[in-house]
């Protein structure tokens, strides 16, 4: 599996290079602007946290692009010619699918770390903001609740992608080479699974697990954000159910790849 991850990363090296250089260039451009403003008292009006957070938004766009590419290349493997290379390897379906999940986790970590670095660097350089931010950076990075929240988000994203992969594989298995029919069927499967998950999650939260929440304070070490230091209640049942569905989708996709593949 790890060999396949390595090759898939190599296949994407141009995309990563272009994407990361663009994000670094944007960060550097904004950082030099802030440095210039600090040196020029006339321009040094206080900067709000909104500017560094705009950079985080660009990182989210980068992540969205990489995620779409992940789904598109997987679909191409099933419907296109490169699938003959990937699926003729002596690997189990779980290994092929696992390599895709590892890539997704890699993309998520790159985005998280890159985005955090950009935001922190810009916040530490922004006139009027740096004095507020700098004392809290170290403490924020050690906020356990923040990392627990990130881990939860990662688990939900991975589950969502596992369900997407299941939809694509199931659609392909049933419709064989009819790509458009397969795509429509795949979309229907994904929508049905997401709808069922939402309905069941709501039902469970209302009937069986009422009041079951995860209370976290991810922003407690960033008082200047204005989000308050009060703990936030995160739903626990629906995301847990979603993750279970993701695991099930992974297992079923692996089985389909091993037993019902129709390239």
């Amino acid at each position: 599996m790890w060999k396949l991850v390595r090759y898939q990363l190599r296949g994407r090296r141009l995309l990563y290079t272009i994407g990361l250089i663009t994000m670094c260039a944007l960060t550097l451009y904004q950082a030099t602007r802030f440095i210039g403003m600090r040196d020029n008292p006339v321009q040094s009006a206080p900067i709000s946290m909104g500017v560094p957070l705009t950079m985080a938004f660009f990182w989210v766009l980068f992540y969205a692009a990489m995620t779409v590419i992940n789904i598109v290349t997987y679909t191409q493997d099933l419907y296109g010619d490169t699938g003959y290379l990937v699926f003729s390897l002596p690997l189990r379906g779980a290994e092929v699918l696992g390599s895709r999940i590892v890539l997704l986790v890699f993309d998520t970590l790159v985005t998280l770390l890159g985005g955090m670095t950009s935001v922190i660097v810009l916040a530490c350089l922004a006139p009027g903001l740096s004095q507020q931010v700098r004392p809290y950076v170290g403490r924020f990075l050690l906020t356990g609740d923040y990392w627990v929240m990130c881990l939860g988000v990662l688990a939900v994203i991975v589950s969502f992608m596992a369900i997407m992969f299941f939809g694509v594989t199931f659609g392909k298995t049933l419709t064989n080479s009819k790509k458009h029919l397969g795509s429509v069927f795949s979309a229907l499967v994904v929508i049905a699974v997401l709808w069922a998950s939402a309905q069941l999650g709501t039902l469970l939260e209302m009937r069986l697990f009422e009041g079951v929440h995860l209370t976290l304070s991810p922003w407690r070490n960033l008082p200047f954000l204005g989000l308050g230091t009060q703990p936030v209640q995160f739903p626990l049942v629906s995301p847990s159910l979603f993750v279970m569905l993701g695991v099930l989708a992974f297992a079923m996709t692996s089985w389909l790849m091993d037993r019902k593949l129709n390239l």
Binding site: D81, T82, Y84, L89, R92, T175
Partner: protein, 236 residues
């Protein structure tokens, strides 16, 4: 004589079509089998089943005694009829890829084949002509010391000289402990290598047997038998 491939009552149905219907055939060890038939006769489906890329609807398929799966993929060297290599790879990287995943991949043999095919490791797949890509793909497939070679239209993009080079390489590297299933429309060029032939039409075996016996019995070359068997296909 031991059979490397044993297929019995194999049927493959898609939603609207039946690609293969009750196909039964064996490929003995050390034999080259020609899989012949017009477009849509089920050749590619049969080869994909052997390569473990398509699951049969019913019937039994055994490759070296095993149902197609992870274990058979390790001993089957499959060449699809389309370019299956990633365009970003160089020829050398494609060789590394094969070497990483297939323990039977012989790097020395790969380099020899690249030299014969007049290819270099640094050339990008995306920048190669169709014929050159075909040569690179054949070099990769023949560099494996596989038990079964499954080649779907391997000479499609090759000029006559390159075809001759490939056939020479094929014969030079063929071992008695392996077998080959080969589909081609260029029957005249390849028929001398066939030990057995199977003629498929609309997913059914319409004629099969040892190539030499068929030639003797019908007093014609395999190409002529092909024309005789599928004569009606051209006009339908």
């Amino acid at each position: 004589m031991s059979m490397l491939v044993e297929i019995s009552d194999l049927t493959k149905r898609y939603i609207t079509t039946t690609a293969l219907s009750d196909v039964t055939l064996d490929v003995p060890e050390g034999h080259i089998m020609g899989l012949l038939g017009p477009n849509g006769s089920g050749k590619t489906t049969l080869m994909k089943i052997l390569a473990g890329l398509v699951s049969p609807t019913s019937g039994s398929v055994l490759v070296d005694g095993m149902a197609p799966g992870v274990a058979t993929k390790a001993i089957v060297s499959f060449l699809p009829d389309v370019n299956h290599l990633d365009r970003w790879m160089s020829v050398g990287e494609a060789g590394d890829f094969y070497a990483d995943f297939f323990s039977d991949f012989d790097r020395k043999r790969f380099q020899e084949l690249l030299d014969i095919m007049d290819l270099s490791s640094g050339q990008k797949i995306g920048s190669l002509s169709k014929g050159m890509v075909e040569k690179a793909r054949l070099s990769l497939v023949f560099s494996r010391r596989a038990r079964l070679y499954v080649l779907d239209e391997p000479f499609g993009g090759l000029d006559p000289l390159a075809r001759s080079q490939v056939l020479d390489a094929l014969v030079a590297n063929f071992r008695t402990d392996c077998s080959m299933v080969l589909s081609t429309q260029m029957v005249a060029d390849v028929e001398r290598f066939f030990d057995d032939v199977v003629f498929l039409d609309r997913g059914c075996v319409v004629l099969s047997g040892e190539a030499e016996k068929l030639r003797t019995r019908r007093g014609a070359s395999i190409e002529d038998i092909y024309k005789e068997v599928y004569g009606h296909v051209e006009t339908r």
